[in-house]
Amino acid sequence: MNLVETFRTGLEAVVSHRMRSTLTVLGIMIGITAVILTVGLGEGAQQQVGSEISALGSNLLTVTPGSTTSASGIRGGFGSASTLTVGDATALTSKVVAPDIGAVAPASSSSEGLVAGTSNWTTTVVGTDPSWLTVRGRSMTEGRFIVNSDLATRAEVVVLGATTAQELFGFRDPVGQSVNISGQPMSVIGVLNTVGSSSSSSTVANPDDQAIVPLTTASALLFGGSSRNSVSQILIQASSSGTLSAAYQEADAELLSLHGITTATGADFTITSEQQVLSTATSVDKTLTVLLGGIAGISLLVGGIGVMNIMLVSVTERIREIGLRKALGATPRVIRRQFLVEASVLGTVGGVLGALLGIVGALVLPHLISNPITVSPVAAVGAIAIAIAIGIVFGVYPAGRAAKLPPIDALRSE
C-alpha cells in the first residue's frame, strides 16, 4: 500500500468516525487553549509587573552631596555642604564624556505646605528642569510640564502629582488655578500621570504626591540655600538598564574631575543606583518566571494527559478493527502508519484550533477581566507540538502493540 493510500485511509477513518474525531479534537483543543491562556496570563502579569517596576526607574542613578567612606554608611568628605551644582548636571549630559547616560535632571527638594483656597496639603516640592519627566519616566495627564523658558524666567509655575491635585482641588480642574507654596503664589500648569502608589522609590515616598517647580524658581523664591546653583541631588538615567554600571563609572569619573578630586575616597558626593528597586525587580522576575514555568508545565501535563486518555481509549475500542484489517491482509506497518496519520491529523487540527481559540480568548478575555494576556508564540507553537507529539505517541504506541497481536486475539477482543 503506498503512502497516498495510507494517508487516504487514515483520513477516511478520521472523517467517517465523526463523533469520535470531534471529541478527540475538542479534547486536544481545550488542552491547548488552556495552556495558551494560562501561559498568556502569566506572561501578561510578568510584563505588567516589569513595566511597573521600570516605571519606578530601575535604570536610575542618584548623585547626592557628601560621601560614604565605609560600608556602615558614615559620611565623610566635605560633610553636608551642597557640593553639587547645576553645572555638574550640565556636564553629565555631554555625550562625549558620558555616552551611556541618557538623561540628567538636577533637583532640589523640600517639604512645603501648599494652600489652594481653603485646602491645605503638605507635600514634597521638587525644583528641577524639563529632563525630570524623562528621567523619572513620567507623563502628563493634562496641561504641560516645565520647559526651559520657565527656568530662564524663573516662572512662578507648578506641576502637581495626581494625588496632590486631588487633595488640593478635588474634582475641579487644577490647571490655571493658583497655589500658594510657602506664601508664594504659583500657577498650576499641569498634572502628572498617575503611576499607582508605590513606596519603592527612594526619592519620593509617593510618586503621585509631589509638586514640581522650575529649579531656578525653587532656589530663588522657595528654598533659599547657600548657593543659588547648588542642588540637593542629580538624577541620572542610564541609556538602558544594561548600561547602568557604565553610566555609574562615567558619572563618577566626570564628577571627580570636575570637583578636582584625585582619590576616590576623597569624593564629595555619592552615587547610588536604585539597588532596592533593582533587586526587587530581579527577584519578582525570578519568582514570576518560576511561577510561569510551573503553570505552563502543569497545563501541559493536564492537557497532555487529556490527549493521552482520548488516544488510548480511541485505540483500545478499535482493537477489533485492527484485528479485522490484519485478517484482511494489513501488515503491522500499514496499521501503524494509518494510526500515525490519524493521530497527526487529529493532533494538528486540535492543536491549531486550540491555538486559534486561545488567541481569540487572549484578545477577548482582557476586556472582561482586568489582567492583560500575552500570547507567546513559543508557548503556542510548543503547545501544538506537544499535543501532536503526545497524540502520536499515545495513538500510535497502543495501535502498534495491537497490530502485533495475533489477528485472532485482536478480533476476539471486546
Binding site: 477489533r320 484482511l328 491482509g329 506497518r333
Partner: protein, 253 residues
C-alpha cells in the same frame, strides 16, 4: 495419513464434476496447538492431518471446545500451529513471518466470520474494497471489483449502504463479497449462519453452494449438522482430533 485416505473417495467424486482442478489447496500434517494459561497447558489440536483439494467444499464439524475454531484460525493463517506443517497451495505457511502471513491472508484466503466483522463506518463497497486496498489495487479497479462482487452476492443495489442499514443476512452477504473480491484460493467460513435467522441462513448457504459450483474452494466451520450437510465432505473434529481418522487408523491396522 489415513485421514487423507479417508477423503480419497469423496475427492474423486467432487473432482469428477470439476475435472480441471485437482491440486491440493490445504495440506496439514500432524498439527498441534497448545495454549498456555499460566502453568496450565491445553492442547486444542492434537496432531491433526488432512488434505483439501482445490474446488472442494468441506465442512469441519464439531461441538464447542472441540478445537474447530482453533483449526479454522490456523487454516486462515490468523494463528500459527505450535508444531506440524501447513502447506497452503503448496507454500509452507507454518514457518512464515508476520508480513508474509499478512500477504497470504490477503491474496489467498477470504474470510466469512460469524460476527460479519464489517467496519460500521464504511459503506458496503468500501468494506468489500478493504482486502484490495491492502493488495495495492488502484482505486478505480477496487471500486469496479467491489461492485462486481456485491452484484455477485445480489447486493448490487446496496453498494452505498452502511452495515447498520443492512439486515444480518445482507451484512453476511457483504462479508461473502469481501471474501470473494480478491479471487482467493480458499474461502473460510466460520459459523457463517450462527448469527442469522433461518431464512437468511438458507440464503447464505445457497450463496456458498453457488460459489462452490462455480469452482471455489470452501471450508465451512460449524457445529450444526444440517449446515455441515451442505458440504461435499465433512470432517468431524472432537477433542482436537479428527474423529473419523482414529477409527480408520485402527481399522487399517
Amino acid at each position: 495419513m489415513s485421514g487423507i485416505d479417508d477423503t480419497a473417495e469423496v475427492r474423486i467424486e467432487r473432482t469428477a464434476s470439476h475435472p480441471a482442478v485437482r491440486r491440493p489447496v490445504i495440506e496439514i500434517e500432524d498439527v498441534w496447538k497448545t495454549y498456555r494459561t499460566g502453568s496450565l497447558e491445553v492442547d486444542a489440536l492434537r496432531g491433526v492431518s488432512c488434505t483439501i483439494d482445490s474446488g472442494e467444499y468441506v465442512a469441519i464439524m464439531g461441538p464447542s471446545g472441540s478445537g474447530k475454531s482453533t483449526l479454522m484460525h490456523i487454516l486462515g493463517c490468523l494463528d500459527v500451529p505450535t508444531s506440524g506443517t501447513y502447506l497452503l497451495a503448496g507454500d509452507d505457511v507454518s514457518t512464515m513471518a508476520e508480513e508474509e502471513l499478512a500477504h497470504v491472508r490477503n491474496r489467498r484466503i477470504g474470510f466469512v466470520f460469524q460476527q460479519f466483522n464489517l467496519l460500521s463506518s464504511l459503506d458496503a463497497a468500501r468494506n468489500v474494497e478493504l482486502p484490495l486496498l491492502y493488495a495495492g489495487v488502484s482505486r478505480p479497479e477496487r471500486r469496479r471489483r467491489a461492485v462486481a462482487a456485491l452484484e455477485r452476492v445480489g447486493l448490487g443495489d446496496r453498494i452505498d449502504h452502511r452495515p447498520g442499514e443492512l439486515s444480518g443476512g445482507q451484512q453476511q452477504r457483504v462479508a461473502v463479497a469481501r471474501a470473494l473480491v480478491t479471487d482467493p484460493d480458499l474461502i473460510l467460513a466460520d459459523e457463517p449462519t450462527g448469527n442469522l435467522d433461518s431464512v437468511s441462513a438458507r440464503d447464505v448457504m445457497t450463496l456458498l453452494e453457488e460459489l462452490h459450483d462455480s469452482g471455489r474452494t470452501i471450508v465451512l466451520i460449524t457445529h450444526d449438522a444440517d449446515v455441515a450437510e451442505a458440504g461435499g465432505r465433512s470432517l468431524r473434529i472432537f477433542d482436537g482430533q479428527f474423529a473419523g481418522a482414529d477409527a480408520l487408523a485402527a481399522e487399517a491396522r
